[in-house]
């Protein structure tokens, strides 16, 4: 049976991992390459690199790092951040990315998902949606969660899947950073609306949050988190051991 995936997300700015990390045994804790190798060797099923650089020089550094990572780390690698055009897809795929995650780029240019899926295949296109409740309705937010687009989120996600998005990352702004668990209500709504893999993001604070996620919503395929892995609050090997004890299919 296919396993539930555990995915650490690394925010990279000017070639360095932004959120401080706290690992013993790593010489350079803010090197994306070192960190990617560490995660790959310690049970991560996939990695997400998120480029939060604004400058052209930073972009170049990012693709250099991506290239080096992809030549040393042999698990699936998803890249996001600043993906607005097919040229952006091309740029990161050539450097060894397996999948490309689009967020604001798909909001600005609704045909981006369709065009990219047609050229690179559905499996290559990941829609990342930042979603927040506004007056009881799930709304899509842009610009890193700062701007309400006014679009209803479930409809938007469905439309992107019809256009060829092969996976959906649902990032709940309501639970993000709170560490009180994933947004089960929001994830359930997305899972019931689409038939492509759904990746839960936002809210994980401890191992039990993942157990609750996969136990409550068997349709969720993966859990994504950043700081709890980086700060060593949750070790992926411990998390997977508990998943296995709870009968959740996992790769150990």
């Amino acid at each position: 049976m296919i396993t539930k995936r555990i995915i650490p997300c690394l925010d990279v700015k000017d070639g360095r991992v932004v959120k401080g990390v706290n690992f013993q045994g790593l010489n350079d804790v803010s090197s994306p390459i070192e960190l990617a190798k560490y995660y790959s060797e310690n049970g991560a099923d996939e990695l997400v690199f998120y480029d939060i650089t604004a400058s052209a020089e930073g972009r170049k550094l990012f693709t250099d790092i991506l290239t080096e990572t992809a030549s040393k780390v042999f698990i699936p690698l998803t890249v996001g951040g600043g993906i607005n055009t097919l040229e952006d897809f091309d740029r990161v795929l050539k450097c060894g990315a397996d999948k490309v995650s689009v967020n604001s780029g798909a909001i600005r240019n609704p045909s981006l998902v369709y065009e990219a899926a047609k050229r690179y295949g559905d499996q290559c296109v990941v829609l990342s949606a930042d979603v927040k409740r506004v007056d009881g309705v799930f709304r899509v937010f842009a610009k890193g969660g700062r701007e309400n687009t006014g679009m209803e989120a479930i409809g938007w996600i469905k439309q992107c899947v019809e256009n060829g998005a092969g996976e959906i990352v649902v990032n709940s702004i309501d639970t993000d950073g709170v560490k009180g668990g994933f947004d089960l209500e929001m994830l359930d709504a997305v899972c019931n609306a689409v038939s492509v893999p759904v990746i839960a993001s936002g809210g994980a604070g401890k191992i039990e949050d993942f157990i609750t996620l996969f136990g409550t919503l068997p349709k969720v395929d993966a859990g994504l988190a950043a700081s709890i892995f980086h700060f060593g609050e949750v070790k992926i090997s411990d998390l997977k051991a508990v998943m296995a004890q709870n009968g959740i299919p996992t790769r150990i």
């Binding site: 042999f74 699936p76 092969g166």
Partner: protein
């Protein structure tokens, strides 16, 4: 030297890097003479069957790959490259494959329960056939590998060297003599995948 066939389908960066990581001497090539002088051939591929088969034929390398394989050279197809080794593919029409392994490529939707998602994407465990293939010399039954596919190889059990269960036992790897194919991506399957590539390089 291992020759990776370059026929304009997919990204060969990871595959070449994974071979470098195990110390294999690999070249990406569209040159028939290089394929002929290579010790082994890797046939990669992503995308749709018909499109890839057409591109491979347009390069003329299909005939070279078939001739080398029939001459006994070890050949490994990966993902769509594995599917191309079979006789026919039923993705957007009916297309001829290379015919090096008996069988055909059918939608997994034909055989799995309706409530399972397509594509079959993620890590799944390998179950070996009745005999352990030399390709799996360095790995164990139950080891996990990474899959992304919507079609599967429908073939006789004697050609199947590993399956993965996704509501049905799908062909995960196949072989016919010196011709091998992996439906999964060994270059994306961590140390297990590298060990499969290492075993192939040592055949």
């Amino acid at each position: 030297m291992i020759a990776i066939v370059d026929y304009g389908v997919g990204n060969l960066f990871s595959l070449k890097s994974s071979l470098a990581a195990i110390g294999a001497d690999a070249v990406v090539t569209a040159d028939a003479a290089v394929l002929q002088s290579a010790d082994k051939i890797l046939l990669p591929g992503v995308g749709a069957f018909g499109d890839a088969a057409e591109k491979l034929r347009a390069t003329g390398l299909d005939k070279v790959v078939v001739a080398e394989a029939k001459g006994g050279k070890p050949l490994l197809g990966i993902c769509l490259g594995m599917q191309l080794l079979f006789e026919k593919g039923y993705e957007y029409g009916v297309h001829d494959g290379l015919g090096l392994i008996p069988g055909e490529i059918r939608p997994i939707a034909d055989v799995i329960p309706k409530d399972l998602k397509i594509p079959h994407i993620g890590w799944n465990a390998l179950r070996f056939g009745s005999e352990k293939s030399p390709l799996f010399r360095y790995i164990r039954e139950g080891d996990y590998v990474y899959f992304v596919h919507s079609y599967y190889a429908k073939t006789d059990a004697e050609n199947v060297i590993a399956t993965a269960n996704y509501g049905a036992d799908l062909t995960a790897a196949a072989a016919n003599g010196n011709v091998y194919g992996c439906q999964f991506h060994p270059e994306k399957s961590g140390s297990v995948g590298l060990n499969i590539l290492r075993a192939f390089c040592e055949l």
